[in-house]
């Protein structure tokens, strides 16, 4: 009996993992993507200079929202081409069990190429 309950629970967790694991990407219709000639990726980001953020943000009762700044050597133009946000079961769970004080952030973004 306990074994069956455990199996059902396991299946539910796995299913939840799949259904709550999704990503959404927004892509600009203007501007040229910042290229990455060293790219060896085999996905949407092939040849694009991708910047990945995979971190846990600590929030306090006074924190309403979190911003990241697109800049640096990999984002010289400081302008965005695309942003992909990924949500996962683990992230949702973390949010729930920490009552929102720990927020897992998984973002991929690509900047625009610098105009010369």
């Amino acid at each position: 009996m306990r074994k069956t309950t455990f199996s059902i629970l396991f299946i539910i967790v796995v299913l939840l993992c799949f259904t709550s694991c999704y990503s959404v990407r927004i892509v600009s219709s203007q501007g040229t993507v910042n290229p990455d000639p060293m790219s060896e990726r085999a996905d949407f980001y092939r040849d694009k200079m991708i910047i990945e953020l995979d971190t846990v943000v600590k929030a306090s009762a006074f924190t309403d929202e979190v911003s990241f700044i697109a800049s640096g050597t990999r984002c010289k133009s400081g302008k965005l081409h695309s942003v992909e946000y990924k949500n996962s079961f683990g992230a949702s769970l973390l949010y729930l069990v920490t009552f929102g004080s720990r927020r897992k952030v998984k973002i991929k973004y690509v900047c625009l190429k610098t105009e010369n």
Binding site: V27, S29, Q30, G31, T32, P35, P37, M38, A42, D43, F44, R46, D47, K113, T114, E115, N116
Partner: protein, 532 residues
């Protein structure tokens, strides 16, 4: 100073994994920042010096040096086993002032634009749009660099316009490390820039039609193309329709290019109800189904007026790459499943029938999503031979395959480039695109497949060419001679005259050697490349 980072590498690949190919060094040049050097010409000249140094290094090490753009070519044309140079960050545009255009030039100054080699079609379109201008034509997508495009002869399906190199009016080449190796070429019968302006680029002008035509589609082998001057035109809109029409009609339009006797799109007619001539005509063919109809795409040119509906679909879906990979693995083992898979994927591969959009050239031929390892074989034939060649090639594909791809036909007005593969008055480009597979005991290799197609066309005495940037059995005996005969000799003659022997070696590669285009010509008239 512009600076170059050199990475030691062991291999290099194309965007669509048609390699890997061996490599020693990958070099990436970045320009001096415009805050340090605000003058565009100064930064351009600074980059010239940097490229000359790289050529000097290659010479000193007795190695090859080859520029590449977006690595979108699927043949090995962009590969060099020693040193490859990535141009993507060299994306300056230099304003052409009114007094920089010769008074006897047939071009209007507001239509002339100077772009550095690494500008992509997308970047150029955006820059032109800021002046209310547009490219005359592009390929089906926008990620290639301008130098990469002209080096292989990129085309769309603009039947009365031509390919990209056909609106290039000037080319700035770096052929070696010496000051005299910086050249600016244009046609003597159609000059554009004043010598005074060209001298600001530290370049020597050569106005010579034949040299210019040879350098236009140079396969990356006439030196480093640093900049190009193009002729743009006023921005326009394209009204695009996708329809299904009877096979016979689609093919007869291809064979005749006569659009005047059949109303294809009821609203695409003139005041007297006569059908308009389309700007673009494309036919899609799934050789594995016996459908009495083909999907066609036609576009009509319209004046640019705003507002017009947003041509972008908000949600874009692309095929799941792992699924494609799985299908290919199954197909390699069980090739008979290929037609079934293609039928199932038809909806994703072909445009939606009855789809209609209105947009600029930039918006119509937009980004292509990366779909994993891919192949493309592309033949150029006289449009009058379209249906005949299509039949021969699809038959070969059914006999030798099935091959995991489908056919399409596009149509391009002929140009003047010596080795342009759009060499017929209107070239029908018959292409098969698909996912890359591995040879198995049940499925022939891509090279063997290409070999069979070349053989069948030769057996039927079909005059044809091949897209330089696409897959083919490039070492097929006598291939170049069959396609270009005297034109190939002429091209080699100009290359021999332009490059000192040691530099001809630097700018050569395996592709050029296997096609025998790297051979020098023993007798070259002394005045062959003089300015006229």
């Amino acid at each position: 100073m512009a600076h170059t980072t050199t990475y030691a590498k062991t291999s290099w690949d194309t965007l669509h994994n048609n390699g890997p190919f061996p490599l020693k060094y990958l070099q990436i040049t970045e320009l001096e920042s415009n805050s340090t050097l605000p003058n565009a010409i100064a930064r351009y000249n600074d980059a010239t010096l940097e490229i000359q140094q790289l050529i000097q290094q290659a010479l000193a090490h007795n190695q090859g040096f080859r520029a590449y753009g977006s690595r979108w070519s699927m043949s090995s044309i962009a590969h060099q086993k020693d040193r490859l140079h990535y141009n993507g960050y060299m994306n300056l545009d230099i304003p052409i002032p009114v007094d920089a255009v010769r008074s006897d030039s047939p071009y209007q100054v507001e239509n002339l634009f100077f772009f550095q080699c690494g500008n992509t079609i997308k970047e150029i379109s955006q820059k032109l749009s800021q002046s209310g201008k547009s490219l005359k034509t592009s390929g089906a997508s926008n990620g290639q660099t301008i130098a990469g495009c002209i080096s292989t002869g990129v085309h769309g399906s603009a039947l009365d316009v031509g390919a990209i190199q056909d609106y290039v009016v000037g080319i700035q080449l770096i052929t070696g490390p010496k000051a005299k190796d910086v050249l600016y070429l244009e046609r003597h019968t159609k000059p554009a820039l004043t010598s005074a302006f060209v001298h600001q680029l530290n370049a020597t002008v050569i106005r010579n039609d034949e040299l210019f035509n040879a350098a236009l589609v140079s396969l990356g082998s006439f030196g480093f193309i640093h900049g190009v001057v193009i002729e743009a035109e006023d921005r326009f809109l394209l009204h695009r329709y996708v329809r299904k029409v009877d096979k016979q009609l689609a093919l007869s339009l291809a064979d005749t290019m006569d659009f005047s006797s059949q109303v294809l799109i009821p609203e695409a007619v003139d005041r007297n109800g006569k059908p308009l001539r389309p700007y673009h005509y494309k036919v899609f063919i799934n050789q594995y189904v016996n459908d009495p109809q083909y999907v066609i795409e036609v576009m009509y040119k319209k004046p640019y007026v705003t507002p017009y509906p947003d041509p972008f679909t908000i949600i874009n879906k692309s095929l799941y790459r792992d699924l494609i990979h799985l299908l290919i693995k199954i197909s390699e083992k069980y090739p008979k499943t290929i037609p079934w898979f293609i039928k199932k994927l038809e909806k994703q591969i072909l445009p939606d029938v009855n789809e209609e959009t209105l947009g600029t050239l930039y918006e119509t031929f937009w980004d292509a999503p990366y779909q994993g390892p891919a192949f493309a074989c592309s033949f150029g034939v006289d449009h009058k031979d379209s249906s005949k060649v299509l039949e021969l090639l699809t038959k070969t594909t059914l006999q030798e395959g099935p091959i995991p791809g489908i056919f399409a036909m596009r149509f391009v007005k002929g140009g003047k480039a010596t080795l342009g593969f759009t060499k017929f008055p209107i070239t029908c480009v018959i292409e098969i695109d698909g996912v890359l597979w591995q040879k198995t005991n049940k499925l022939i290799s891509l090279k063997e497949y290409s070999n069979k197609m070349i053989t069948v066309l030769q057996q039927h005495n079909i005059d044809f060419t091949l897209h330089w940037g696409k897959n083919a059995d490039w070492s097929y005996p006598g291939l170049i001679n069959y396609m270009y005969s005297a034109k190939a000799e002429e091209w080699k003659k100009f290359r021999t005259a332009l490059l000192r022997p040691e530099l001809a070696r630097v700018f050569s590669n395996h592709f050029l050697e296997s096609t025998k285009l790297s051979d020098s010509v023993s007798v070259v008239p002394q005045d062959l490349i003089v300015s006229l």
